[in-house]
Each structure stands twice: as C-alpha cells, then as structure tokens.
C-alpha cells in the first residue's frame, strides 16, 4: 500500500507532465482512497498534491473576498504570491465570493492561509476587548 505522500507526488507529477488526463487521474485517486479506506483523508490528499505542485513550481491558491475583485487586485495578489514562492512559479487562482467575511481578503495557499478579512479583524478586536 502506497503512502498518501507518494500518491500525492505521483498525482503532482502526472498533473505537471500531463501524462494522465485530469478526469482519469481524479478517478484513480478516488479509487485509491476507496480501496485503502482513506476517503476521510481526501482533503489532506488534495493539500498534499497542492504542496507537491507548489514544490515543483505550480502554486494553486483560493482567493476569498466579499466582493468580486478587479484584475488589478488579482494581479497584486499574484505578485504577492510570487514574492513569497518565487518569481518563476506558475500561480493558478480560484476566486470565491463570500459576503460573510464583510471585506478584505482571505488567501489559501498550499502551505497555509492568509486571513486579512474584516471579519477576522473584528473578532480580534472584540476578543482583545473581552480579555
């Protein structure tokens, strides 16, 4: 039985080199998760694959905002990611609109999350007052 890290490495290599079509790769990963009874670890497997891709120069990020962002803002976010991972990495973005964060931005990267939302700041202020 292969470990999750090895499977993630295999999937990342397949995605980078396009050796296996994406839909077929997804089916293979789902089959592996089911066979090894690791379906609960699917989110961790996705994170591992994203981490492997980031290590190989392909960074997938999720941008969550309260309002749709402009191209300029998106470009600034990508620049910020380049400053963190290096200028030569390829950045793929996924935008999510969530009014619950009120304002600001939340960026999820393979190695962590940057929460600069208004909601988080409010909660920090309130908790500071409570203490």
């Amino acid at each position: 039985m292969k470990s999750r890290t090895k499977v993630a490495h295999f999937a990342a290599e397949a995605l980078l080199n396009n050796t296996i079509p994406r839909d077929r790769l997804v089916a293979m990963l789902a089959s592996w998760l089911k066979d090894t009874k690791n379906t609960r670890q699917s989110s961790y497997l996705v994170q591992d694959i994203a981490r492997q891709l980031a290590h190989s120069g392909y960074v997938f990020i999720t941008i969550t905002t309260a309002h749709p962002i402009t191209l300029q803002t998106k470009s600034s976010i990508v620049d910020y990611i380049h400053s963190y991972y290096g200028a030569n990495v390829t950045v793929e973005t996924k935008e999510v609109i969530n009014p619950a964060i009120i304002g600001g931005v939340q960026i999820d990267t393979p190695n962590g999350s940057l929460d600069a939302s208004v909601k988080r700041k409010l909660i920090q202020i309130i908790k500071g007052v409570q203490r």
Binding site: V105, L122, I123, K127
Partner: protein, 181 residues
C-alpha cells in the same frame, strides 16, 4: 516315801545298746543310704538340670520382658517429651504464623486503604481538572460566540459601508502592508 520308792525302782535298769533299742540295722541303713545317693544322682543327672534350664529360660524370658517393658516405658516417656516439644514448637510456630498473618492482613488493608485514598484523590483531581477545562472551554466558546455575534452585527453595519471599490482599496492596502513586513 513315794519319791524314795521311785528312786529305788529307776536305779536298777539292765544295760542295752541304742541300735537294739530302736531296732536299727546297719546293713539296712547302708543300703538305704546308697539307694538315696543313687536317687539323688539320678535326679541331679536327668531331672534337676532340665528343671533348672526351664527355670533359667523362664527367668531369662521374664527378665527380657521386664527389660523390654522398662525400655518401652522409657521410650514412651521419651516419646511423650518429644510430643510435648513438638506441640510446644507447633504452638510457637502457630503463634508466629497467626502474628504474621495479622500483621500482613493489616498491611494489606492499609495498602488497600492508601490505594483507594490515592485513587479517590486522583479521581477528584481529574474531576477538578476536567471541570476547569470544561469551564475554560465554555468560557472560550462563549467568548467566541459573543465575538461572532458582535462581528456579525458590526458586519451588517459595515457591509453597507464597505463598497466593492472600498474593498479593493482595503485589499491592496493589506497586501502592501504584508509586503512591507
């Protein structure tokens, strides 16, 4: 007168021998003596020896019996003294065993009490710790829930204030701030 008459009558006996008077014959007497000695010799030779040997054997048997009885009596006395000694030793050992058993049972009871006491203390300590943890968790949950509610209320007020344009500026400002760090 009478005395004189008697004296006169006893003073005139004719002299006669003793053997003749009692009718003893020397030949008959000799023959009887030889016969007696012969009988004595025969008795001694064939009868007395056997009688003595039977008597000696009986005496020896009686003496042996008495000796064995004395020996048995002595052995009985020794056995009784040994029994007394064994009984005394057994009583002493029994006393020691009972004493040790009482001591051990007391120690076991004390150890069990100590263990139970320690266990009770540990349970109490765990319960107190769990209670503290639960209180802290409840307090934290309450604080988080309060903060969430306040943020939602504030958010509903701010949501109208933060337009898409202002939000872009806010994001850009935040990114600049992060870059500077």
């Amino acid at each position: 007168m009478i005395l004189l008459q008697f004296a006169s009558e006893s003073s005139a006996p004719p002299p006669e021998s003793v053997t003749a008077t009692f009718g003893i014959s020397w030949q008959a007497l000799l023959f009887q003596a030889i016969t007696f000695l012969l009988v004595v010799w025969v008795l001694k030779k064939f009868v007395v020896g056997k009688i003595y040997s039977v008597i000696d054997a009986r005496e020896k048997a009686i003496n042996d019996g008495l000796a064995q009885a004395a020996k048995a009596k002595e052995e009985l006395a020794n056995a009784e003294s040994e029994i007394d000694a064994i009984l005394n030793e057994a009583r002493t050992q029994a006393d020691v065993v009972v004493h040790n058993a009482k001591k051990e049972s007391a120690e076991i009871i004390k150890a069990a009490e100590d263990k139970a006491s320690a266990r009770a203390d540990a349970i109490m300590h765990d319960a107190e710790e769990k209670l503290k943890l639960d209180v802290a968790k409840a307090r934290q949950a309450l604080e988080s829930e309060t903060a969430r509610l306040i943020s939602e209320v504030s958010g509903s007020i701010l949501r109208d204030k933060i337009t898409a344009e202002k939000d872009q500026k806010l994001i850009m400002k935040e990114l600049e701030k992060r870059r500077e760090k």
